[in-house]
Amino acid sequence: MTTDVLFWLFAALVCGGALGVVITQNVVRMAFWLILSLGSVSALFFLLGADFLGAAQLLIYVGGTVVLLVFGVMLTASGPYLQIKTSAADGLLGAGVGGLLLLVLISTVYGLDWSALHPTPAVSMIAERPEGNTIRPLGLAFLGLRPDRPVTEDGKSAPGYLLPFEIVSVHLLVVLVGAAYLARAKRRAEPSRDSFSA
């Protein structure tokens, strides 16, 4: 019962925050509603036992993206309080696309026979531990081990995500190096070496 009450509370906060983002015109107020919405999503993750995902949501979206957003607004705004005005046509277009997406989601949710989905080993493994604690299976999966999957007949573990993990981390490194390269202080043109060599 506690879980249900909390679920509805946070779900209402997610929707209310998202509505606030759409309706508000002041960019920084939008950022506040975004914090509320994204923070409540992370609360929902915690409630569902996905503790690592919830913490990552907090760290990356609330603590990272929103901070960068506000930081960007502060650096670039020409006036004191930046407003964004949406034209009626844009509003209609947005509402139409959003409504279509909602239609797709609702039709999927109600079209699916949920009872036919028997709990997979991964789901039952998480259900065994009500407090979540998903980080160890996640870490093992990144190292190429799947403790949540049954061992195949020839005695091998199911393949994990070692290769994707490595590719993503190298990708991230490349992005970091690129960002540092682009943002580095431009050196002034060195005086020509001819005078030294001569």
Binding site: G63, V66, M74, P147
Partner: protein, 424 residues
Amino acid sequence: MYGLFAAASFSEFLSGLDIPFFGPLSPLCVLLIAALIHAVILINIFAILPLFYIWLERKVAGRIQDRLGPTRVGGKFGWLQTLADGIKLIQKEDLAPGAADNWIFRIAPYLAVVSSFAAFIVLPFSDGWVAVSLDVGVFVILALMSLEVLGIIFAGYSSGSKWALFGAMREAAQMVSYEIPMALCALVPLVIAGTLNFGDIGRMQAGFATNWLIFHDPFTFIAFFAYFTVATASVKRAPFDLAEAESELVAGFHTEYSGLRWSFFFMAEYASMFAVSGIAVLLFLGGWHTGIDVEAGMADLRGWKPDFLVTGFTLGTYLVNLFGAKVFVLKACALVFVQIWVRWTLPRLRIDQVMTTCLKYLVPISCVLFLGAILWPLLLASTLKRTTILEQAPPLGRVIVGDAVAKRGPSTAVASSPVREAAE
């Protein structure tokens, strides 16, 4: 959901309680009351620590500057000075400047306080004395502590004052960059511990001080000092308090605030000082252990149930944990004292120096420490044929990974062999 609250002591106490005419409490009722008690205790700790630290700050500042500091309020040592300040602040008019974005201006202090308080939820004070025991505790606390900056940025932006805006921009730039070395320095002891659970990290440092992670290898020793520097910067204490640099920005992000809202920022700041010091104590300085192994003498007390008044309540464990909590708070307070001492000793850096310190020195240093901490066990394994200098129990991470894999039963036992091989 029930598992979220590791309210062992309180739940035990409450479920054993037999109220006259009412009978034993239902599990849901016990859970709610235990959660409430936890929240009330944490809020009290959260509120009383700043009260003490602000007094300490004034007293230490006075002594360092060859003054007496507060002497009058409350008799000796002026120990009620903060309370007097608080009463004064409550009486002040709660005003917002005309140029401010009123709504965000009013909400910003709460954001700072809430995120600072949220960090206390996963901070253990003793073995099992934690409101929510999570396997990703360290990750969660770092995530929660990174949210405090939002309140500061909002405060600075919505004030409608250039000083406040400058302060907020500095704070945002500083926070975004200092988060990186903070996480990297926190990773160094985690590599050795092999777990993100504060409880497990604390328990593995039991015994003498040589078991503390700071003395584990040279890299964790340096990592402690690097972490402490970064932590001081991340709670915007001098010499990194550029967001409120009085000499250049009037008062920085809180220039336009007054009264209780102003004091909320300071409550958040001092509580965060305790939180980062608490993390340092847990990750490096042995958590709630004294370091001289008094705990071994008290081991028999654990699990002692006198069954007096309340049945099923392990009073012995409670007493041992109380002692542990005192040790933990004392250690954290010692670190907070160092932060105060540093503030009144060192001059403030310039903003470019702050950024240089972080990006050019602390980030590379923490990367090197992280790499070193990974390579250290390999070096020892190839020379000494074991992974620690002193003879110790195997690192906790290996035990737990082994357990987690072995728990999956015989059908999956084959899969555990690569882990064991990799660990050995």
